[in-house]
Structure formats: C-alpha cells, structure tokens
C-alpha cells in the first residue's frame, strides 16, 4: 500500500470506526444524563441506544467495504493464493475448501498477482515481505507525554478489527432489541422486585431503571469497541478496565439482590487478580520496549516500530542469543536491522525470561477476563444479571475481550507461553463441560458451556491455531448469543423460572424460540452432514473442526502433549451431550411443572426478531469453512509465524504446526469430532429425549462424582479454604494484636498525658497565670491613673494641643541655640 493510499484509507477507516466507537458513548451520556429527568416509562433511551449501536453496525459495514475496496479485496486474493499453493504442493487432501474458494475467487489485482508457481513458500514469503499489509495504524490523539512515555489514543485496524467491529455491533444491536422487550418490566415508576424480600413478607419497590440499563449497555459497547480499536496495549488496558466496570454495573444491575451484588463483586475482584498480571506485563513491556503500540504500519514512519515489529522480524522470527538466564531477544528497529539504544549505542535486547513473564502477565489478564481455569468461577455467578447482559457478556464483549487480546498479542507470545495457554485452555474446557452436564439452571448450563468454549479458543491459540481460535470466537459469539437470547425468551415466557426441571414441552408453547435454540444447539455441538465434497453444517462445526485439526496436528508433532487433543475431543462429545440435554429438558417431553407450562407464552416479536436474525448468522456465518469469507478475513490478519509453524527447541521443546500440517489432519480431526458429537447427541437423546434411561439412576449411582461436579469441582470451596479463611485467620490475629498491644499502648500513653497535664495545669495556674495577672493589673492601674487625663471633653483637648505647642515653642526658644 502506498503512503498516500495508506493515509487516505487510514483516515477514512479511522473516522468510520472511531465514530462507530464513539456513538455508544454519546448515547451513554445522553441516556444517563437525560434518563434521570425523563419519564421512567419512556422507551426513548432504548431507541437511542439501539440507534447508536445500530449506527455503529452500519458504520462498521461501510468501513468493511472501504477497507476491502482500498485493498482491492486483497485479503481474499491472498487466501486464494494460499490454497492454491497448498494444492500445488499436493499436500491438502481436503478438497472442499479449495472448491469453495475456487468458486469465489475474485480477480486478483495486479499488485497482488505474484506468480502462483513460485517457490514452495511463495505465499509465506509474499506474506512475510509485508506482514502488516492490511493493517492500518495511527493515532487519534495524544493524551499525555511523561518523559519517554507517550500515552496516546491509537488505532490499529486490520481485518480482525473490522470483523470484530461488525460482529460486536451486530450482536449488540440484536441484544439491544431483545432487551427492549425483555426489560419492559422496568418501564414503570414502581417496580416490584420479587427476589428481594423485606421483613414483613413484602417485596422491595423501586422506580424502574430502564434508562439505566440501556445506558450501561451503551457504555459496555463503547468500552468493547474501544478495546477492539485500540492501537496500543495501554489503551487496551484502559478499556479492559472499563469493560470490567461495565460488567460490574450490569451484573449487579439488581443491586438490591444480595446474590447479584455479591456476583458483581466476585466478577470484579476476580478480574482484578488477572489484571494484576496484566499490569506487571505492561510494566515489563514499557521498561524494555519503551512503547505500547502494537505495530506501526504507517509507511511514512519506517523507523518507529511497534511492539510486534520489535520482537519479530518480517518473517516472524525471533532473533535471540545466549542461553539460560542470559538468553535474550534482540529488538528490531523496524527497518531490517537491530534497534540501537540511543544513550549507550548498544543493540537493544530483552531477556528471554522477561519476555515469557510479560506474555504470561498479559495472558493472566486474559485468564481473568475470559474466565479461564483458575479464575473461571465468576462467570456462572454472573448469571445474576439480566439475560441480555449475560448474552452480551458471554458472546460479544467481556469474555471475547480476553480471547481477542490473546489473539491480538499473539506475536509477543513465545512458545513457552503458548504451551501454558494451551494447557490452561485444555483444563478449562474440560472443567466447564463436565460441570455443564449436571447443572439444571438453564442459564448456568450456557455459562459453563461458555467457559468450555473459551477453553477451546485458548487451546487453539496455544497450539498454534491462531486462525482456529479466533474463528471459533466469532462463530461462538453468534450461536452463544443466540442461545442466551433464546433462554432469555424462555425465562421471560415462563415468568422468570430458570430451572430446567420445572420446564419441558415448551416447544409447543414457544415454537420459534425452540427452533432458534435448536439451531444454536446444533451449531455448538458441531453436528454436520458430511458429504464427499463438503460438510453441510452450521458454523460451530467449521470452527471446532479447525481447532481439533490444529490440536491433532500439534499432537502429531509433540506426542507428549497428547492430552491437548484427547481432552478436547472428548469434550466435543460432552458438549453435544449437555447442549442436547438442555434442549430436550426444556422443549421436549412432557411438562414437569404444569403451572409453569400453563402460563408459558411465546415472547413478543421484538424479542423473537433478534433470535431469527442471530439464528441465520449462527447457521451461515462460517459458510464455506476455511475457504469462506469470514475465514479469509481472519487469515488476512494472521501473524506470520502462525502460518508457517515453527520448531522450537528451548526450555520446552515445542513444535508448532503450520497451515500445511494442519491441513493434513483436517479430515481426520473432522471425522473424529463429528463422531464424538454424534455420540454425545445420541446419548443425550437416550437420556433426556426419549427417556430410555432415567438420568436419576445414573446420578444416584455416581453421587460422589455428581456432587463434585455440582460443587463446580470444589473450586469455590478451594478458594474459600485457600484465600478467604486464611485472611479471616490473619484478620483475627491482627484484631487481637490491635486490642492487646496497640490499644494498651495507647491507653498507657493517654494516662501518661493526663498525668503530665495535671502538673502542667498547676504550673500554668501558679506561675504563668500569675505573671499574666501581674502584667494585666499593672496595665490596669496605669490606665486608671491616666484615665483622669482622658476627660472626653473636646475643648479641653484643643487646649492641651495649644498648650503643648506653646510649651514646645518656649522650650525651643529657651533651650535651643539660635
């Protein structure tokens, strides 16, 4: 891209996306300021919020078109090349993506039309020659500069940013629309909260908070979009925290409910734990790199590299030297050479272990935000928020932020870090899935499924499948928001009954919701109809297939890490099992609670409309699989090293699979995943759909395991024992110390002071006061004697003056020599 083109496209995208980003903020300001004064029964705040976020979607779409035409749809052409390459080498047994891509291949523009039959790694070379070919970076505004630390509002726009923008705005728009219906209870001046019990058997009454809900939603969207648009890691951190605050506000929306406020606190505190690691990572990065920017792709500024460009060269390689603790990574200057420290003239480098620490620190933030293994317990509790909030948190915004950052920061992660990521994801996905089997609250099932799916994404990132992880992020966002909204519709229809054991047979009462939910279930379960040339499947199949293929490829390279494939594979089956369990328990069979069933009703169209839209997207957003438009968009932003794969022999020897290798295992993994999913689905039908086996018997036979799962793997108990109780014990000790020693010391001091002051008083009274009195008495006596002179008679004073003058004159005349 030429500098002129870069500048013009950059400016256009900057303002399009910037406007899409700021619109919700404007909406928030108007809603939160205006809403308080307007009628509580007004729907205006909702329409405003929908308008803002919908406008954001429109602007994002325009930005997409702008970006595409500016790059002459080069991203699609490159992917075409890639697959062409793969075919030329005959390494891909999977014909389906090739056929699709071949059908959709646009005419390659001249500047991208390099020879197809180039060297074996021609695509990689072409890609590597310009790793940020479609990325635009720049700055909105310089907030402050402290010495070398420049804090800017930057932007970094590549295809991932644009995809995220479109995804977030689209899903958020749907959720806003849904929430307009869902939250209509709040359109009153006197809302009765049935969950809050006051003494005397009454319920808590308060004014409706419709406007407040939508203002929070707007702020949430603003924060998430800002995070996606951010061009430096510090800015990401700022919006990261803002997202945390918004989730806190929204989870604790029913603040009067004890459970809600506790859940909000829990989410907030857990996130802070992760953010602490994030902060450490930030410090390391700034200390050693001196900048926060991701990458500087502006051709007009060649010598000002961002973080990615400093760590990795154009081919995605890390240049390092030394071994052990002396192992260090040489920083690039962005021009092809090594960066030189301006002060000492030495080449700049960063110790390898610090790079690991920085990566782990940043990833700690992702753990907290995306509810990964040690910090996953906040997410189920976050179900205390209204269902639209859950949908937003679980699909497009909050948890997506963690995966997004891990993907965005991918170039900074060395293989050691990636391995940690992979194992964390692996553990998480298994834990989440197993708990989801036993949970009966419809929203909690979805919550645990979210944890599990996030684990999948992290796993994919960790095993080198950058594309697979983010692909799953997008598809998951669609079907998970769909399912949440559907569950919200069910809850709304059942008058806030959430337990699946109270439901059943609702398919007849709310058919549209049921079918929409079924679309989501199939999508997440990864069911597909395999055909010889391509699999007819919903979006989830494609992305999960990609993840499993990557992890299979990884396992093929690193046999010792076999769990990283086997656990996800098993979990794929479990996923299908619990998701179908949810559907069967809710929608099929006989009603378990006749009262609930009788009063259940289909939701209004304002809620069903988003469901329909989202089901369409959940079904077809990943159409074409890895050759589809969504995949191509993502491929265009894939970091170079993820494309090629790498064999690393360091502290831990890991071989990361490249695209070519992944393709080899694609079919195998797909078949395995499909089989696992089918197994899970059939089992689920056996247990819950057809009722052939009574789940209760299984539960009683495995009661130990069941209670372990019900207790969420005892994590809360574990944390209670590990952190809360010790703190209590220490606090008691501290209290005892305070009472015994500090208070005693203070009392003794006080008594001593009282004693001293007693003596001081005596001294004051006898010595000081007497002295003062003597002075006062003397003054008084003098005044009394002089008082006689002060007659107050004006005329006498005049006489005094005259006499005085005369006296002075006589004195002068008599005594002064003339």
């Amino acid at each position: 891209m030429s500098p002129e083109q870069f500048a013009s496209t950059g400016a256009a995208l900057k303002w399009l996306l910037g406007l899409a980003w700021l619109l919700p903020l404007a909406g928030f300001c108007i809603e939160v300021l205006g809403g308080y004064w307007t009628d509580r029964r007004s729907r205006a705040p909702a329409w405003l919020a929908v308008g803002c976020i919908g406008g954001g979607f429109v602007l994002s779409t325009i930005a997409f078109v702008t970006w595409g035409s500016a790059t002459h749809w080069g991203a699609f052409a490159v992917v075409d090349d890639h697959h062409g390459d793969a075919h030329a080498r005959g390494q891909s047994p999977d014909a389906a993506p090739a056929a699709v891509t071949g059908a959709q291949a646009p005419a390659a523009p001249a500047e991208h039309g390099h020879p197809h039959d180039g060297p074996p790694h021609g695509h990689d070379a072409a890609h590597a020659s310009s790793p940020y070919a479609f990325a635009l970076s720049g700055s909105f505004y310089n907030l402050a500069t402290f010495g070398g630390l420049s804090i800017d509002i930057d932007y970094y726009i590549d295809s991932l940013t644009i995809v995220m923008f479109m995804m977030v705005t689209l899903i958020a728009t749907c959720i806003h629309l849904f929430a307009m219906g869902y939250m209509s209870d709040e359109l009153t001046d006197n809302y009765e909260d049935h969950e809050v019990h006051l003494p005397g058997g009454r319920h808590f009454h308060r004014p409706g908070r419709y406007y407040r809900f939508f203002s929070y939603l707007s702020l949430f969207c603003f924060a998430m979009l800002g995070l996606v648009l951010a061009g430096n890691i510090f800015q990401v951190f700022v919006f990261w925290e803002l997202v945390g605050v918004c989730s806190y506000l929204l989870i604790g929306f029913y603040v009067e409910r004890k459970s809600a406020s506790t859940a909000a606190n829990k989410a907030f505190v857990m996130n802070r734990v992760g953010d602490f690691g994030f902060l450490i990572g930030l410090m390391i990065l700034w200390t050693w790199f001196g900048t926060f920017r991701f990458a500087n792709t502006d051709p007009a500024q060649p010598g000002a590299p961002g973080l990615f460009q400093m760590v990795r060269d154009a081919d995605g390689h890390i240049h390092e030297h030394g071994a052990g603790l002396d192992r260090a990574v040489v920083l690039n200057d962005g021009l092809g050479g090594a960066a030189v420290d301006a002060a000492s003239g030495q080449p700049r480098s960063i110790p390898f272990w610090l790079l690991i620490a920085a990566g782990l620190g940043i990833f700690a933030g992702c753990i907290g935000k995306s509810a990964q293994f040690p910090l996953q317990t906040w997410l189920p509790d976050a179900m205390e928020g209204p269902t639209p909030v859950s949908a937003l948190v679980h699909s497009a915004t909050m948890v997506a932020a963690g995966v997004y950052l891990a993907g965005r920061f991918y170039p900074m992660f060395v293989p050691e870090v990636l391995l940690v990521i992979a194992y964390i994801g692996c553990i998480t996905l298994f834990i989440g899935a197993t708990i989801a089997i036993v949970v009966t609250d419809i929203k909690r099932v979805l919550a645990y499924s979210t944890i599990s799916q996030l684990g999948y994404m992290m796993l994919a990132l960790g095993v080198g499948g950058w594309f697979a992880g983010l692909f799953h992020l997008i598809t998951h966002a669609f079907f998970k928001s769909l399912m949440f909204l559907a569950s919200g519709s069910v809850i709304h229809g059942c008058h806030h009954v959430q337990d699946m054991q109270e439901m059943g047979g609702l398919r007849r009462k709310m058919p549209i919701t049921a079918w929409a939910m079924l679309v989501g279930v199939i999508a997440i379960a990864g069911l597909a109809i395999p055909t010889p040339w391509m699999a007819i499947a919903f979006s989830g199949y494609h992305s999960k297939d990609a993840i499993l293929a990557t992890s299979l490829a990884f396992m093929s390279q690193n046999r010792q890490h076999f769990l990283l494939f086997l656990l996800p594979l098993a979990t794929a089956g479990i996923t299908a099992f619990y998701m179908f369990r949810l559907w069967f328990m809710t929608f099929s069979g006989k009603p378990r609670n006749q009262h609930v069933y009788d009063h259940a009703h289909e939701s209004p169209w304002i809620m069903l409309g988003p469901l329909v839209i989202l089901s369409v997207f959940a079904a077809v957003c990943a159409v074409g699989g890895e050759g589809g438009p969504l995949a191509r968009m993502l491929f265009a932003s894939e970091p170079t090293q993820a494309v090629a794969g790498a064999a690393v022999a360091g502290t831990v020897a890991v071989n990361l699979p490249g695209h070519a290798l992944i393709h080899e295992y694609h079919t195998t993994a797909g078949i395995a995943a499909l089989l696992a999913a089918l197994t899970g689905a059939v089992l689920s039908y056996v247990f819950y759909g057809a009722g052939l086996v009574n789940p209760a018997t299984i539960r009683s036979q495995l009661s130990g395991l069941h209670s372990f799962l019900i207790e969420k793997w005892e994590f809360d108990a574990l944390y209670d024992a590990m952190f809360v109780r010790p703190v209590h014990v220490v606090a008691r000790w501290a209290q005892g110390f305070d009472q015994k020693y500090l208070d005693g010391f203070l009392h003794a001091t006080g008594r001593a002071v009282v004693w001293i002051s007693k003596w001081d008083r005596k001294f004051d009274e006898t010595v000081v006061d007497r002295a003062v009195n003597v002075v006062g008495d003397a003054t008084y006596a003098a005044g009394a004697s002089l008082r006689r002179l002060q007659t107050g008679r004006l005329r006498q004073y005049v006489m005094f003056i005259a006499f005085g003058v005369l006296g002075l004159f006589l004195l002068m005349f008599a005594f002064l020599p003339r």
């Binding site: 005329r795 005259a802 003058v805 005369l806 004159f809």
Partner: protein
C-alpha cells in the same frame, strides 16, 4: 491700590474671624464665617490664585456654609442656638489664643523674609532655573486654572517645560485620584450617618410581643 484692597479684605477676614469667635448665636457665627471666608477668597484673588479663590467661594461659602446653616437649623431649636460657655473658659481660651498669636507673630517676624526671598531668587538664578520657577509664570499671573488642572492631571507646566526637564513629573494625578475616591466615600458615609434612623422599638411593646 493693592494695599488698600488688601487692607479691606484683611480687615474683613480678621474681623469676621473674631466675630465668629465672639458671637454666641450660631447663625450669626455662620454669617460672620461667610464674611471671613469670602474675604479670604478675595485675598486669594489678590495673591493671583484665582481658581482657588473661585473654589473657596463655591465650596466654602456656597457649600460648606450652607451645610453648616443646615446643620444649625436642623439641630437647633431656640435655646440651643446659644450655648454659652463659662466665663473662666472664655478667659482661658482668650489667653491661650493671645499666647499662640504672639508666638506665631513673633515667629514670623523673627524671620527675614525679604532676604530669604532674594537669597532664593539668587539661588534659583545660579541653578539656572531662572525666575520661572519662582512662584508661577508672571506672564500668566491670575490665570492658574489651566495650569492647576494640568497639574492635577499629571503635567506640570512650570517644571516640565523648563530647560532642565528630561523627565516628566507626575504632578498631582495620584493625590487627585485618591481625593476623588475619598470624596465618594465621604459622600456615602455622610449620607449613611445622617440618614433618618428607624425609631427604636419600644421595649415595652417588645416584651408584650414576646
């Protein structure tokens, strides 16, 4: 001729002043004061201070004395007009007055004004200031309004236009401004002091109300 006029004015001024001192009726005192002050204004004219003479007439005779008579009439009812002081006081006052007068006259007669004046003139001539700096310009005698006004605005004709005047004197601009502010304050203060007071509430009524 000037001596005759001076004699008339001086006699009127001194006579008026003595009459003020002697007379017991306040309004008559005011009348004699007018005579005295008016004659002093005449003396000012004789001394070629015409602006000051006019000011004296306008402010003292036209303003202050009217004010005084006002005060007399507002405060005095019949017997109050003549508050006599004791004869002892009068005698003592007279004696002191005579003593002070003697002192002053003695003092001023003991100075040789003529030689002082010649010495000053010669000193001024030596310094090169010439006759201009002695008093004011004889050419403009009697017409001091412009020069006084200019001095009040910060320009001194007799200094700034001389030969050795590299720097401008500031004249009386600052005192002028201070005096104008002072006048304003006095105006406000006097009207505040002299305003009609609200009648003091009757304590009996107050106690009844409470």
């Amino acid at each position: 001729m000037e001596t005759v006029i001076f004699t008339i004015y001086a006699l009127a001024a001194c006579g008026g002043a003595i009459a003020v001192m002697v007379s017991q009726n306040v309004v008559r005192m005011a009348f004699w004061l007018v005579i005295s002050l008016g004659s002093v204004a005449g003396l000012f004219f004789l001394l070629h201070a015409d602006f000051l003479g006019a000011t004296q007439l306008l402010i003292y005779v036209g303003g202050t004395v009217v004010l005084l008579i006002f005060g007399v009439m507002l405060t005095a009812s019949g017997p109050m007009l003549t508050i006599r002081s004791g004869p002892g006081e009068v005698v003592l006052g007279g004696l002191v007055g005579l003593a002070v007068l003697g002192m002053l006259v003695f003092g001023m007669l003991s100075v040789d004004w003529e030689s002082q004046q010649t010495r000053m003139y010669s000193a001024a001539a030596e310094e090169g200031r010439g006759e201009r700096s002695m008093g004011y310009n004889p050419e403009g005698e009697g017409n001091t309004a412009r020069r006084l006004g200019a001095a009040l605005l910060g320009v001194r004709f007799d200094r700034d236009l001389g030969r050795n005047s590299e720097t401008l004197s500031t004249g009386y601009l600052l005192p002028f401004e201070i005096v104008s502010v002072h006048l304003l304050v006095v105006l406000v203060g006097a009207s505040y002091l002299a305003r009609t007071k609200r009648r003091r509430p009757n304590p009996l009524e107050e106690s009844l109300e409470s």
